[in-house]
């Protein structure tokens, strides 16, 4: 969106042409003003050149794009909460089914994809079939930033590219992802590879924690994040994320009730099984993996 906004215009136009859409929306968090400015500029230039509008490239096909800016809620990245937000309602996910292709934005059938997926479309039509993904590397590395790698590249190679210090743990997939141990760094960065390590590529976030890192604080911070970002609509997530954070704080402070592990295991299962959307369903992932895989806050 910042580096090549025209790629998104092109990709969305192709997707719209393929599906018969006349109107496209780009929903971007308020935290990315550079992306807003460059996208708006790209839309204007594309309109001026007849690449968007009532008659795209003289074909008679009509398509235009509108930028919508979020108001700070993480849950609005969930596709149906995103629809609610665009429609002017609270950012709350809808129950699925019906899925967006049947009942989506303003009740109409809707194609909804993230930007990374869409910008692959022109590449594929150009015959470029390399399977790459973007990885956002942060934490204890010399060169944090965005890396584009072929799917299947070992995690270790990415860490070398980014100048990682020897990690104590790596969080793969973001706040809803999983922690990996130092002996799991050969995991291939592919969907199957991640799955074989009980992890997920998720958002493509790779966060490195070296020996100096306080993993208990990191786990508490993730629990706090989900408690704060739960929209509050369904009970398992609204109250479950609070109970999860409370249990972790008790374990961290050594003021245990004696049943926190049982409570956390139940919360992990029930938030995953009974929450409405992906936020609640994955709110215990990173916490559970830190406890099971790294032994953080787990009894020795």
């Amino acid at each position: 969106m910042e580096g090549d906004p025209f790629a998104l215009v092109e990709a969305m136009t192709i997707a719209a042409f393929a599906t018969g859409c006349e109107h496209g929306y780009v929903y971007v968090r308020a935290e990315y003003p550079v992306a807003h400015a460059r996208l708006e500029h790209a839309f204007e230039v594309a309109r001026a050149h007849g690449l968007l509008g009532d008659d795209v490239m003289g074909t008679g096909f009509a398509f235009d794009v509108e930028l919508r800016i979020g108001a700070g809620a993480y849950v609005c990245g969930e596709e149906t909460a995103l629809f609610q937000s665009i429609e002017g309602y609270r950012g709350e996910p809808r129950n699925k089914p019906p899925f967006p292709v049947e009942v989506g934005l303003f009740g109409k059938p809707t194609v909804v994809n993230n930007v990374e997926t869409l910008v692959n479309v022109p590449e594929i039509l150009n015959g470029d079939v390399r399977e790459t993904r973007l990885f956002c590397v942060s934490g204890h590395v010399e060169r944090p930033g965005l890396y584009e790698l072929e799917l299947g590249t070992p995690l270790r190679d990415l860490l070398e590219l980014a100048g990682s210090r020897p990690p104590k743990a790596v969080l793969l997939g973001g706040a809803a992802g999983s922690f990996l141990r130092p002996d799991q760094l050969d995991v291939p960065l592919s969907f199957e590879g991640a799955r074989s390590a009980d992890a997920t590529l998720g958002s493509g976030v790779v966060m490195v924690f070296d020996e100096s890192a306080d993993l208990v604080a990191a786990v508490l911070r993730i629990a706090e994040f989900f408690r704060d970002e739960s929209c509050g609509q369904c009970v398992p997530c609204r109250v479950g994320t609070v109970r999860q954070e409370e249990a972790l704080h008790r374990l961290a402070a050594g003021k245990t009730n004696g049943n926190e592990l049982e409570v956390l295991a139940d919360l992990t299962a029930v938030m995953r099984d009974a929450s409405i959307c992906g936020l609640g369903q994955t709110a215990a992932n990173a916490v559970a993996s830190a406890m099971m895989n790294l032994g953080v806050l787990a009894p020795s």
């Binding site: 009970v235 109250v239 009730n257 919360l267 029930v270």
Partner: protein, 274 residues
Amino acid sequence: MIELTIDGQTVSVDEGSTILDACRALEIETPTLCYADTLTPVNVCRVCVVEIEGARVLAPSCSRKAEAGMIVHTNSQRVRTSRRMVLELLGSSVDLSTAPDAQRFSADYGARPERFGEVATVAQPAKIDNDLYMRDYSKCILCYKCVEACGVDHQNTFAIAVAGRGFEARISTEFDVTLPESACVYCGNCIAVCPTGALMPTSEYELRQAGRWDESKQSEVDTICPYCGVGCNLTLHVQDDAIVKVTSPDDHDVTRGNLCVKGRFGYEYVGNRK
């Protein structure tokens, strides 16, 4: 008609029926808190979840449409664990002392909300800002029923909505103004759908505060509202020869449980002997 299997029993239901409809056809008791026959399902409480074979997660039976060939389990370990924990999460954060359904389900599923220990709750002072009804949000499970009743499902007044996020989410008037300053028209249709007693007529609230509310001493008298020509059915709840509450039957063709301010609250003249 479509045919599906629930807990090993085959059942045929009309197309468009929900799994809950199918469960009820089989007389399988399914707990619900945010569901009402007269409201659009919002599937937020998650106490009615069921397991559908082949599905990754559990599904809310109140809103999931039954599909031909579905194999549904309502009493599996996964279902019981989720239902029990939802009730524990509510019981540990909300005052359920005037919520008979939630209490019954909690007992049925062996919920132990005390197992979380000392935890955050939604306890707060009751809001008493008018003569007709009070709001005690320490008893609110955020089932959205009052919002639906105030909105497009019934009243189209839109005096209340959910404000805030996560555990801070709460039912609020616009800018949290008092009811007299809000768009509220005092129809009390929110009270009629509230499953926990968070919303209560002042008459009932005051009797409960005084320890004199006694449903075993109450009788119900059905009549027609005397005010206008619509002909709403009223159920008068009578205790010690006095009307203590007015409701309308959910299944009544005219009202579907709804009334206006006169029908629900304008009964004091009945007891005026002068």
